[in-house]
Symmetry: D2
């Protein structure tokens, strides 16, 4: 399982006094950085080779500004050309959101998806829920 600890930023709050909902997909994207590195170790924008097909987020409880959060992530499904990352957001011992993201191995130049390379597949496979 990948653990990504973040400190909520003041500008990430909204007028209701908690973290705005649109921030959670940003934190989940951030938590996928180690997965981006599997496919693109230098995080080179010119060699980016993943595209997002789908996300969902379930808001379980309000997330607050004052306390650190942890995003826990694991690879919950691996297909031929795509895979699914599952996320949980935790704050003060409580799970405040869950979500998934489906990513596709993608050639931006040819604008077409491709088969996930075996080495990447093996690395993805090692990121379990624990």
């Amino acid at each position: 399982m990948l653990r990504c600890e973040l400190s909520p930023r003041f500008y990430e709050t909204d007028g209701l006094g908690h973290i705005n909902n649109t921030v959670i997909p940003k934190w989940f994207e951030t938590a996928r950085t180690p997965i981006f590195k599997i496919f693109n170790p230098e995080l080179s924008l010119k060699q980016w080779n993943l595209i997002l097909r789908k996300i969902d987020v379930e808001f379980v409880a309000q997330t607050y500004h004052e306390y650190p959060v942890e995003v826990r992530s694991w690879v919950s499904h691996i297909g031929r050309t795509s895979f699914t990352v599952s996320h949980e957001l935790w704050q003060r011992g409580e799970m405040t959101a869950t979500g998934t993201a489906v990513l596709v191995y993608f050639d931006y130049t040819a604008q077409q998806k491709g088969e996930i390379p075996a080495s990447c597949r093996a690395e993805l496979g090692s990121i379990g829920r624990d």
Copy 2:
């Protein structure tokens, strides 16, 4: 159907040269403003009475910076305490993303959900897909 036309902003692009995925939930939230007004005509933050339970977004095609977009939204389901808004994102005659949002009628002071008032229900019911 609600139609919300937006001009993509430069800072909404990302290093891959198109609109970043995390921007789409923000545009969809923006497109729900007329729905917020059904429940809170003055958009008063102190009287906010909706909470987001769930969102999903499917990315169908890349969305670009150079051209205006239109978010088309309608109410696809009304329950006792919650309802679902469906969204489509269109650019240059092509649908580039779809999504849904489940909103709950919520009393922030009591921290509990409540039954959607009849007048709001009627207004929601009038926002069909056309």
Copy 3:
């Protein structure tokens, strides 16, 4: 003078119940779109030829979520390779922020600044305070 009307978005508020300060530079950037088009009519990211050297923002009054805003912009100085855009943010007849941005005509491939072309200079010159 350029006038750019915007509707504040819910996610642009912060926990203090007004528009977060970090949003104003985003609105000012957005208000410069017609100026970007002078240099790059198609807004093509591959042909981008301006770089930002400096911004400042003075926050005069709180900006609220509920009411539309207008950014008023004009070109307040034109140098050989750079120029300054001045901005005012207005809401409900009150000026809530001012700012400036210094932009440089820049060749991203050569990574060096250049002289502003005469035709662009003429167009910039026509955007006065009124």
Copy 4:
């Protein structure tokens, strides 16, 4: 001097392939968190007592996505009711941006500024450039 290390996030890039200019004020705000805590140790939104009067940012070099950044901050001026924080953004041994922020000690209920308490003044005074 305060040192705040951040990992640039993918969504903070823009179509030019570097960190978007509007992100820097957000990082600088984030770097001021220890200063917010001087005035409001619990970071309680209900007891917030600082307001931003002015910011400026000078963009010295492009900031990239792939490498961590460090924001270095210090208190460069203390007045009766306001003070100035100076910031530098560093990446890979190079300073890529500088900026300042003027903050005012502010009573949001009374909507008026006040004199900085002596204890806060002392703590601010201890955050020098080194």
